[in-house]
């Protein structure tokens, strides 16, 4: 213990605390997983999924490739901290290993290497050079981060995320760590420059360093030399100056480690188990589960999800986006105002570099907050079979198509033209598909609608179910379990009729632009079918943001908190983007989108079925 210095204690305390906290958290969360989830995880070890996770951890947790793609400045900041620090630690270990020829030395020697060993020139390999280079890489990142913060404050940008107390402490400590390290190493070097030192080795013969050589490399070495020349000898000689710098470095490390589990930096470690679990097949579900912790804590609050959110860009609504939702949920202060104010359009999920299932998490928060269902609610739906017609193909209009009867009328004409025998599930009224209730968190009530409709479909013996509403489509596919019944969106059905030659359409030179409905595109992955149908009729002009990146019409049923003016403004934003294509008319494939866009559109807005029926 002759080399022990008190200043290493804050580091030790912090690191110990961090280790215990992380272990407790992760083990506790893991124990909370369902048996099935655990089974999935164990089964995935070691398979290709494991290898995939390792690659993904390297790419995303260290290199942050996805962040680079959205924002190179942010990418550099993340990479410099994560990869730079990781390499600094790795190189440090390697250096210690080489230096002490594999002999074990106390951990503090490893961490505070430059203090203990005055590395001048390590045989054939110059570690100091690498470490100085890495330190520089990180310091540039720190400067950029400071600059970004300052700049956005000056520019009054609202779009950076607000910080919690834990975040502030951790952030301050984090920013201090590397400048403190630079100062400490340089001061040590200065002392060696001025007075010489000795190189600590395990063997008996200690190597003496004469004054005028210093230690460290181009950064710490040069700064050390400069300090040696510049500072009065008495300051350099007074050991406490050097020691104070090392104290600061150690305290910064310790404080950062202690604050980490309570701050957004929790994401640094949490992303690792998340990636393993996700690649093992674990997903968030309708009900909250222990797995959600891994996702919620893996959010780095990078704020990338704020920009694509139209609540912000279209309606000027702040503080409800996924980053805020996840933050509020994590700290147990989620309010209805935040949970409910979301279109569940999925644009943020598309952009999130961590791949967090924001919509599902928001949904299960809503489920948790929903009022319990009362047994007699919706009792009246029993026996309400208003269906008509007979056929193996069933058509479900859904509430929204019943409010846009032009679509219904068009489907009638199309079915007749194709000679299809159709069972009309709800032309004269019927029971809602259940998705709006589900999206508001009322899953038990929604179940009643789902069970009712499912029975109805079974009773009438259909083998194909066509719907013109993507909202119904999604719930049929995800929650109905309709084995033996093929579920098709009308765009897919139309595509099939065209491919089979069952519809003859007049095509022309008319130009259309197409709006991807959220529930159909991002929600169900259907992008090609409607485009093929449009191509059979005329010319398609894509808007600037399309397919996975398409805008939301703003009228989503998922948002129960937005006011009409907010919906209108988002609708206007979309209508303008679509009009900018210069097309003759706007086509979409969702009755709700049609209404939402039509309120502000300067161009006529049609459903896909309407333009098909017109061309029969």
């Amino acid at each position: 213990m002759e080399h022990f210095r008190l200043f290493v204690l804050p580091f030790y305390a912090g690191a110990f605390f961090l280790l215990i906290t992380l272990l407790c958290k992760y083990i506790y969360w893991f124990i909370g997983l369902s048996r099935e989830q655990k089974r999935l995880f164990w089964r995935s070890l070691p398979t290709r999924a494991t290898w995939k996770s390792v690659v993904e951890i390297f790419n995303e947790s260290l290199l942050h490739r996805k962040i680079w793609r959205t924002n190179p400045l942010l990418g550099y900041m993340h990479t410099s901290f994560a990869l730079g620090w990781f390499l600094l630690i790795s190189v440090g270990w390697l250096e210690t290993f080489v230096y002490f020829k594999g002999e074990s030395v106390p951990l503090y020697v490893d961490i505070f290497f430059s203090y203990y060993v005055h590395p001048i020139f390590e045989r054939n390999f110059n570690f100091s050079l690498i470490k100085d280079a890495l330190l520089l890489l990180i310091l540039v990142g720190v400067v950029l981060a400071l600059f970004k913060r300052l700049y956005s404050r000056i520019m009054g940008m609202k779009r950076t995320t607000k910080h919690m107390l834990g975040d502030r402490v951790a952030l301050t400590a984090l920013w201090l760590i590397f400048p403190a390290r630079l100062l400490a190493e340089s001061l040590t070097s200065a002392e060696v420059w001025r007075f010489g030192g000795y190189v600590w080795t395990l063997s008996e013969n200690t190597q003496l360093i004469p004054p005028g050589i210093g230690c460290g490399s181009f950064l710490t070495g040069s700064l050390g030399q400069w300090l040696a020349d510049f500072l009065p000898a008495r300051i350099i000689e007074a050991q406490h100056v050097e020691l104070t710098a090392w104290w600061i470095y150690s305290i910064a490390l310790g404080v950062f480690f202690v604050a980490l589990p309570f701050s957004r930096y929790m994401h640094i470690f949490t992303e690792i188990p998340l990636i393993f679990l996700r690649n093992a097949g674990l997903r968030a579900a309708e009900k909250e589960s222990s797995f959600d912790h891994f996702q919620v804590d893996a959010c780095s609050r990078c704020g990338i999800c704020i920009d694509p959110c139209q609540l912000q860009s279209g309606a000027g609504i702040q503080g409800v986006q996924s980053v805020y939702f996840l933050r509020d949920r994590r700290y147990g202060r989620l309010t209805d105002a935040v949970a409910d104010n979301c279109l569940m359009c999925g644009r943020c999920q598309q952009a999130c570099p961590v791949g967090i299932e924001q919509n599902t998490l928001r949904l299960n928060s809503r489920v948790k907050r929903a009022y319990p269902d009362s047994p007699n609610r919706y009792a009246y739906i029993q026996g309400k079979d208003l269906s008509t017609g007979e056929g193996k193909v069933g058509y479900f209009a859904g509430c929204m198509t019943l409010l846009t009867p032009k679509i219904l009328r068009a489907m009638e004409q199309i079915f007749t033209a194709a000679g299809e025998e159709v069972w009309w599930a709800d032309k004269n009224g019927g029971v809602c598909c259940g998705r709006p209730l589900k999206l508001s968190g009322e899953v038990d009530a929604a179940r009643k609608m789902m069970d009712f409709n499912k029975n109805l479909f079974r009773q009438h013996g259909i083998t194909t179910l066509v719907t013109s509403c993507p909202i119904c489509l999604k719930v049929f596919k995800e929650d109905y379990a309709l084995e033996g019944i093929e579920v098709l969106h009308h765009s897919e059905y139309l595509q099939r009729l065209l491919a089979e030659g069952r519809l003859k359409l007049r095509s022309g030179s008319e130009t259309f632009t197409y709006h991807d409905p959220c529930e159909l595109g991002r929600g169900s992955g259907i992008y090609e079918a409607p485009r093929e149908v449009i191509a059979a009729l005329g010319v398609l002009k894509e808007p600037a943001e399309t397919r996975e990146h398409a805008l939301c019409c703003g009228s989503s049923l998922a948002n129960t908190a937005i006011d009409d003016e907010g919906q209108r403004r988002i609708g206007e934003q979309v209508a303008m983007a679509l009009a900018a294509t210069g097309a003759d008319s706007i086509v979409t494939a969702c009755p709700l989108c049609k209404k939402g866009i039509a309120r502000e559109a300067t161009l006529p807005v049609y459903d896909l079925a309407e333009i098909v029926a017109r061309a029969l």
Binding site: L403, P405, G429, D564, E600
Partner: protein, 340 residues
């Protein structure tokens, strides 16, 4: 000094402005988009609340305009108004100088197709109050197959007080129009059952409330408080409606022979283009915003730009005509002051 005053729109407000300006010694020019003068009045049959034939009011105004020295240019549209009312640009690209401009371009009828859920233009036997006026002019209310309806439902506030179609304002005249037409239908078909679905009954003018009372007591028209949510056709071409009676709080379904939509007034389609003029300000509803709503109802922020009639807000005929007179006097005041 040409003394020329341009009046945009030859509806009741525009015609009255011309008549008064002529009396005051100015040279009005009426520019009217349609082939003839009269505006919406040309489409009405009998006027509330007195059941006066629209032709009487229109004929009188036309005769008086004819007697003036006004110049009338029909089938011409004003596409832009120059700064400070110094002139206007016409649809053919030519421009016309003026000493002052009176905007009397009125309102547009809300296109009922936009409320797709009511099936206007899609189902037989869904009509608007504007269609009903035409039917009365042509001899009476008939269904698509020529029969007289036995049950009729009126729906108020179609395209008014409705955020979903960006029409938040009340159009004021549709309530009384609905009441008037319900009575007229009952007079034509005494055995008919008539339902009126409303949110509020707004009987703002003299004799309106009395007419409403008469409709209930004498004509036994059923007024139901609640909006129809959806309409669908039945196999026999009737209309099935879903509504809620909000007074007793119960959902309601019924089939009727005919559904009549009381369409509202929306801002005239020229207003946006007019709004490019720096002195012309628009309400969020799209109607033009006068200088103030008390002593400046017919004024803009420019001393040579004036408003008259429904271009600024929904009004009845009497109110529109009064504004024509008011605008003419204010024009005269400005121009006379400039002369001296």
């Amino acid at each position: 000094m040409t003394g020329r005053v341009i009046i945009i729109g030859g509806g009741v407000a525009g015609m009255q402005t011309a008549i008064t300006l002529d009396e005051l010694g100015f040279k009005p020019v009426i520019i009217e988009k349609e082939a003839s003068l009269g505006g919406k009045l040309c489409r009405w049959d009998r006027l509330f609340p007195t059941m006066t034939p629209a032709q009487e009011v229109l004929g009188d105004l036309l005769k008086r305009v004819e007697k003036t020295a006004s110049e009338v240019r029909t089938s011409t549209t004003v596409s832009e108004i120059e700064e400070q009312g110094r002139g206007v640009t016409l649809s053919d690209g030519s421009r016309l100088d003026a000493e002052a401009v009176v905007v009397a371009s009125g309102f547009d009828i809300f296109p009922a197709e936009r409320k797709e859920e009511y099936g206007y233009g899609l189902y037989d036997n869904v009509y608007t109050t504007v269609d009903v006026e035409r039917m009365f002019r042509e001899g009476g209310v008939r269904m698509a197959d020529g029969r007289e309806p036995k049950t009729v439902a009126f729906l108020h506030c179609v395209g008014s007080r409705d955020e979903k179609v960006n029409q938040r304002h009340c159009s004021r005249v549709c309530c009384i129009t609905g009441v008037k037409q319900a009575i007229e239908v009952k007079q034509q078909i005494p055995g008919a059952e008539i339902f009126s679905f409303y949110m509020d009954m707004r009987m703002f003018g003299p004799g309106y409330e009395e007419l409403y009372r008469q409709a209930q007591q004498q004509y036994n028209i059923h007024f139901v408080r609640g909006r129809i949510s959806e309409a669908s056709p039945t196999i026999d071409h009737r209309i099935h409606i879903k509504a809620e009676d909000t007074l007793i709080g119960r959902p309601l379904r019924m089939s009727v022979d005919m559904l009549i939509l009381a369409v509202g007034m929306q801002a005239g389609s020229s207003n946006v283009a007019f709004g490019r003029n720096n002195n012309i300000d628009l309400y969020p509803s799209g109607f033009l915003r006068p200088l103030n709503q008390f002593s400046g109802n017919v004024r803009s922020s420019s001393p040579r730009l004036f408003y008259a009639g429904t271009v600024t807000a929904p009004k009845n005929i009497g109110e529109s005509i009064n504004e024509g007179i008011a605008a003419a006097y204010q024009v005269a005041q400005t121009l006379n002051a400039a002369k001296s």
